[in-house]
């Protein structure tokens, strides 16, 4: 039995449908990340799970029980907010213990629970301070402490790291991951940062305009995106997308990418694509991630299929650990990720290669992957 089950969930606000038929289930101990651009409905979805917002149709089950009509405090959930939402007039200890106070738990039990949580999060020395006296990272820990002490079935995180600076964000991300591994908690986590999604999740749900685009493990989402949106959204730098044409002239389907000022790139259709769906002459979108584009010498040795081509180098971006090279192909800019020591110069012509094992094809009309 899954800890969290969402079935056919819809939410309407007036005439606007904000969530359009969401189906997700999360097993115990799983880490579900809801990811998508601003306005896609991920925070709304989280709020409906919490009970802070109502739903128009569908069911939400936590621990097997339907919770649609239950008050947030009765759903056995705890939430960590983007702005931490700590009660400013209470000390850290009082903040953590407030929920227990509301539930009528006796003072000695409360104090024990607070002490144990404070130890886990290493905030014992902050218990008497007020939120205004804490740093951003400390406040985040207190917010997590308030959630932990509840020992809920499901933890809900609403973009908890967005207010932190870059370095702190990385540190806290690791903390959250460690916490997840230590406690085996079931977590639903909302973020717009796809790196957070990839690093933290056991399951990712990509949302756009209230619709679920794909649900899967990080690897599935990354390597087998179900449509153009997911392919483009996940991964940084984003996937290169080129226009191509199917050619079945000599039996096995090939993808032809025309380059106005150069000879076309002709690649055998990637293994990921369902060859039966490739009609001769059909237009396709050819997708390949920057790390699958390299110079001809450093192609992955395990690659079963590859294609080489010449191109002039447009921009070189040394990024420390890698060097990103931008070249022009068929009117589009293509980013290739190369080793840092690459000896490439702007304006030079160079041989590049596509690792076709990693290439993907998309239907331009339906945007779905072929």
């Amino acid at each position: 039995m899954a800890t969290l089950e969402i079935s056919s969930l819809r939410k309407r606000f007036g005439n606007l449908e904000i969530l359009k038929g969401i189906d997700i289930s999360l097993e115990k101990g799983g880490f579900l990340v809801l990811v998508g651009p601003s306005g896609c409905g991920k925070s709304t979805l989280l709020n409906t799970i919490a009970g802070l917002e109502s739903i128009s149709a569908g069911e939400i089950r936590i621990g097997g029980e339907i919770v649609n009509d239950l008050h947030p405090s009765k759903r056995d959930i705890a939430m960590v907010f983007q702005s931490y939402a700590l009660y400013p007039n209470m000390s850290v200890a009082e903040n953590i213990g407030f929920g227990m106070e509301m539930r009528g738990i006796a003072k000695p039990d409360r104090e024990k629970a607070i002490a144990s949580v404070a130890k886990t999060l290493q905030i014992e020395h902050l218990l008497t301070r007020r939120p205004s006296q804490l740093s951003g990272g400390q406040r985040q820990r207190v917010a997590m402490g308030r959630a932990l002490v509840r020992q809920p079935s499901v933890f809900l995180f609403d973009e908890p790291l967005s207010n932190l600076d870059a370095k702190l964000r990385v540190d806290m991300r690791i903390e959250i991951k460690r916490l997840h591994q230590q406690t085996g908690a079931t977590i639903v986590y909302v973020t717009h940062d796809q790196i957070e999604a990839m690093t933290l999740a056991t399951k990712i749900a990509v949302l756009k305009d209230g619709e679920l685009q794909q649900v899967g493990t990080p690897r599935e989402i990354y390597n087998a995106p179900s449509n153009l949106f997911v392919a483009d959204f996940m991964g940084s730098p984003s996937m290169n997308l080129l226009e191509g044409r199917v050619s079945r002239a000599d039996g096995a389907p090939k993808i032809v990418i025309e380059r106005g000022d150069n000879s076309p790139i002709v690649a055998s259709a990637p293994a990921s694509a369902d060859a039966s769906k490739l009609a001769d002459g059909a237009k396709v979108i050819f997708g390949i991630r920057p790390e699958a584009v390299s110079d001809s010498e450093s192609i992955d040795r395990n690659a079963k299929s590859a294609v080489k081509f010449e191109s002039k180098v447009d921009i070189v971006e040394p990024a420390g650990s890698d060097t990103f090279v931008v070249i022009h192909v068929a009117g589009k800019e293509l980013t290739a990720r190369m080793r840092a020591e690459t000896d490439i110069r702007i304006g030079e012509s160079h041989t590049f290669a596509f690792n076709l094992d990693k290439a993907l094809l998309f239907d331009p009309q339906t945007t779905r992957r072929i």
């Binding site: 947030p72 939402a85 007039n89 929920g99």
Partner: protein, 311 residues
């Protein structure tokens, strides 16, 4: 488009630059000087006067603390009560009631309005419009409203409850309460506006967290929202206290000719002693005492606000 002009000499350039440097301060200077002279200078002048024996006209004959001693003695003259004693007692009564009820009503109305009700766009302006009125208009309206012969008492009699008495506004002992009623009517809307803005400024996520923690609306207000309102309380308190001490127009218009000085307040005391009784020094002394009281409230407040802004 460039125009060719004769190159200015370095001296004029330097002078012009220095003028531009000083220009801002020159612009500010007149206002600051006016304030310095007409506010601080005049206050010092009044303080000086309080140490003189001025009667109908200002005199420079210093008589030390005699005026202050006089007022100090009058503070304890309770039977028959001296004007100053009455003024202070009334100040306490009026000030206390005024501040308390403005805060209470203001907070209550703000909380009610914050409950996601419809019609706020109509209700809010209704609570606020009395602020636009002059205190004289307010006093005139309430004087009529509370007049026993043509106002409330008469109206209630007409409706059948003939033993209803409400002659406070002509009863010397009760007049000051009428002033308080009119004052609260006028200013509570303002306090409501302050609290409403404060309530709306509470982070929505804190309220969500309270919901998840299982706090009822009552508990949420009592344990979380109202404590967050503390700074607003203080702001409102300071503004109300300052208005209470300064009130003059309101008393005059509600009580008319102030029979027997029953509704005396420090502000009316000052005025009558200075201009009617020709005891300018005593009047100045009372003005200084008013000033000191206000300073005692405002200076720490302004200081703490300025420091916070600097942070």
């Amino acid at each position: 488009m460039t125009t060719v002009t004769a190159a200015p000499t370095s001296a004029t350039v330097a002078m012009r630059a220095r003028l531009q440097d000083w220009l801002p301060r020159l612009v500010l200077a007149p206002s600051f000087l006016l304030v310095l002279v007409f506010v601080y200078g005049f206050n010092l002048w009044t303080v000086f006067l309080s140490f003189t024996g001025s009667k109908a006209f200002a005199s420079t004959r210093l008589i030390g603390w005699a005026n202050y001693e006089k007022l100090w003695n009058w503070t304890f003259e309770t039977d028959p009560p001296s004007n100053w004693y009455t003024a202070i007692v009334n100040m306490g009564l009026f000030g206390g009631l005024y501040i308390f009820f403005c805060l209470f009503l203001g907070l209550a109305l703000a909380i009610l309005l914050d409950q996601k009700i419809r019609g706020e766009g109509i209700l809010r302006p209704i609570y606020l419009y009395p602020l636009a009125l002059s205190f004289i208009v307010t006093g005139t309206a309430w004087k009529l409203f509370l007049d026993p012969r043509i106002g409330l008492e008469k109206a209630v009699h007409d409706w059948g409850w003939t033993s209803f008495h409400f002659d406070w506004v002509v009863n010397p002992r009760m007049m000051i309460y009428c002033v308080a009623i009119a004052g609260v009517w006028q200013t509570s809307g303002f306090v409501m506006a302050m609290f409403l803005a404060g309530l709306r400024g509470v982070d929505g996520e804190i309220l969500k967290a309270a919901q998840i923690d299982g706090a009822s609306p009552y508990q949420t207000y009592r344990r979380i929202v109202i404590p967050i309102m503390r700074p607003v309380f203080f702001s409102a308190l300071v503004v109300l206290a300052h208005m209470a001490i300064k009130s003059y127009d309101l008393v005059l218009s509600v009580t008319g000719k102030n029979p027997g000085g029953a509704a005396e307040l420090p502000s009316t005391f000052m005025y009558s002693y200075t201009f009617t009784r020709n005891q300018m020094a005593v009047g100045s002394t009372s003005a200084v005492i008013m000033l000191m009281t206000i300073a005692a409230i405002m200076v720490p407040y302004i200081y703490s606000e300025m420091r916070e802004k600097a942070r």
